[in-house]
């Protein structure tokens, strides 16, 4: 087999981990609160600046800067819910889209104001692993491992805890959940915090591989939304599977043609699949 093709496939697999993690966060929020956070990728951008700022500028140890990103974006997620979503929870979905869409421009402009449009890098160069002529960067390997661990932790949280069970139940009957002693508002806050924490974790993993700038959310935001819809919006398993399919198309398409064309291919496939299975590739 072609070594370079194999390398492309492996890199695609590793890319899928981070995308799957972010897809999980977006799907969780949509599935539970029934709101799409258009600015989700920009929350990731905020987390990347937290890592950059604390580590590269203030000289914090990297793990501490990572922890700050996870906690900081989790708090940001709670604020997004309290300040933007909660007041308009009962209004038309389009209003919620517009409100979180407005947040996207706010965050991008705010980041430009503070950090300018310069590309910044945390300056960590992890070594590259070579196995039988295949080169894999440790930062991607690490990102994949951490993303998978994060997804597994989320799975057990949702399956094994009372709050997790309530999170899975709430969308099925928002009224009766109250009779179980569950305060809906509290579940929404916990969900927003988890969604934020996943964005913050994704930010750490992306900061290892990419430069941060105010508009980095635009580079992978549409990709995450496409993956979510492909897997069935709100369907966490579907999103996970779709993340792997899309990253493989991008990685292998990039190997045969060019990276730009591979994105075109991915979006064409997406449009075609939407005609065939508008409900997403996994599920009913």
């Amino acid at each position: 087999m072609d070594m370079f093709l194999l390398e492309a496939a492996i890199n695609g697999l590793l890319l899928a981990g981070v995308l799957a993690l972010l897809t999980l966060g977006l799907n969780l929020i949509f599935g539970v609160i029934d709101v799409v956070w258009i600015a989700y990728a920009d929350l990731v951008m905020c987390g990347m600046y937290v890592v950059y700022w604390l580590f590269a500028v203030f000289g914090w140890p990297l793990p501490l800067a990572f922890a700050a990103s996870v906690v900081g974006v989790a708090v940001l997620g709670v604020l997004v819910h309290l300040l933007i979503i909660a007041p308009i929870l009962g209004s038309a979905p389009i209003n919620q889209l517009l409100a979180t869409g407005g947040l996207l421009y706010f965050l991008q402009s705010f980041a430009t104001l503070i950090f300018t449009t310069d590309f910044r890098n945390i300056g960590v160069r992890l070594p590259v692993l070579e196995i039988g002529g295949i080169y894999i960067s440790y930062s991607r390997l690490l990102a994949f491992g951490v993303a998978l661990a994060g997804a597994t932790a989320l799975y057990f949280f949702l399956k094994r805890t009372y709050i997790g069970t309530a999170i899975r139940a709430i969308a099925q009957d928002r009224e009766i959940i109250g009779l179980m002693g569950v305060d809906q508002r509290r579940i929404y806050l916990v969900t927003s915090a988890i969604g934020g924490a996943l964005a913050g974790l994704g930010a750490c993993l992306l900061a290892l591989q990419y430069d941060v700038h105010p508009f980095i959310g635009n580079t992978f935001g549409p990709l995450i939304f496409m993956i979510c819809v492909l897997g069935g919006l709100g369907n966490m398993i579907g999103g996970f599977v779709a993340a792997f399919i899309i990253s493989q198309i991008i990685a292998i398409g990039g190997y045969y043609f060019s990276t730009e064309l591979s994105y075109v291919l991915a979006f064409i496939l997406f449009i075609l699949l939407m005609f065939v299975r508008p409900q997403g590739i996994v599920g009913r």
């Binding site: 009372y162 069970t165 309530a166 009766i176 179980m180």
Partner: protein
């Protein structure tokens, strides 16, 4: 244990209850009977806090529970089995039971409570990992009752437990209610199936267009001329 005095309630400008007063003593099984649209479901919802009372007093063990939202009345010891069961259809039977034990006081006793529910309803144990939506009507009712029991209630509210079930299954459900009674729980049942419910309760109230029209022991009501004529077709 439970006492309602002159309670009125409704939805927006629509009033469903007009000055309802009733009492349930500890250990009793009490029924509220009446036709469709009499306000029976609203009565249950007012007690559990899903609907706010617009006037009147509701107290549990002498403490007012007016204005307490549903998610906090559970901790006071009230469990509500809603009309049409309202299980979480995609969750497994056991997850439905687990969420019934959401309040901290119930979590501590999860294992023993689960064992008790499975002992009451052995079919639920067999189907514990099955999605609740795939259960038969009777099993769903067991699961809904079991879910309510998981919160370790002192007062169990049951809204139309026989609604939408086949006649044979209705028999089964009333058998379940007898079993729960025997466990010493205080139960308030709302039912349209008057003949059946009078067979399992100690006392009952007749609710018509939002007001209590009659009340008495089940024997008194079974022999009441008006009820026999209007509701039993005798």
């Amino acid at each position: 244990m439970l006492s309602l005095f002159d309670v009125s309630a409704g939805y927006g400008s629509f009033r469903a209850l007009f000055g309802v007063s009733l009492e349930v003593a500890a250990g009793e099984t009490v029924g509220v009977i009446g036709p469709n649209g009499a306000g029976k479901t609203t009565l249950m919802r007012v007690i559990s806090g899903l609907v706010a009372a617009s006037a009147g007093a509701i107290s549990l063990d002498g403490r007012s529970i007016v204005g307490i939202p549903a998610h906090r009345t559970v901790a006071r010891g009230i469990a509500h089995v809603p009309e049409n069961r309202r299980l979480f259809p995609k969750l497994s039977v056991e997850d439905n039971l687990r969420i019934g034990a959401f309040i901290p006081a119930a979590r501590r006793h999860f294992a023993e409570q689960l064992a008790w529910v499975y002992q009451l309803f052995p079919q639920l144990r067999e189907r514990r990992s099955q999605p609740a939506g795939t259960l038969s009507g009777g099993e769903q009712q067991m699961c809904a009752i079991g879910r309510a029991l998981m919160s370790r209630p002192r007062l169990l509210l049951m809204d139309e437990p026989s609604a939408g079930l086949a006649p044979l299954v209705v028999q089964e459900v009333f058998e379940l209610i007898r079993r729960i009674r025997a466990e010493g729980l205080t139960v308030l049942i709302v039912e349209q199936n008057i003949q059946q419910v009078l067979g399992v309760v100690d006392r009952a109230y007749l609710l018509e267009v939002g007001a209590i029209r009659l009340s008495g022991t089940s024997t008194e009501l079974k022999n009441n001329e008006f009820i026999r004529k209007a509701y039993m077709g005798l």
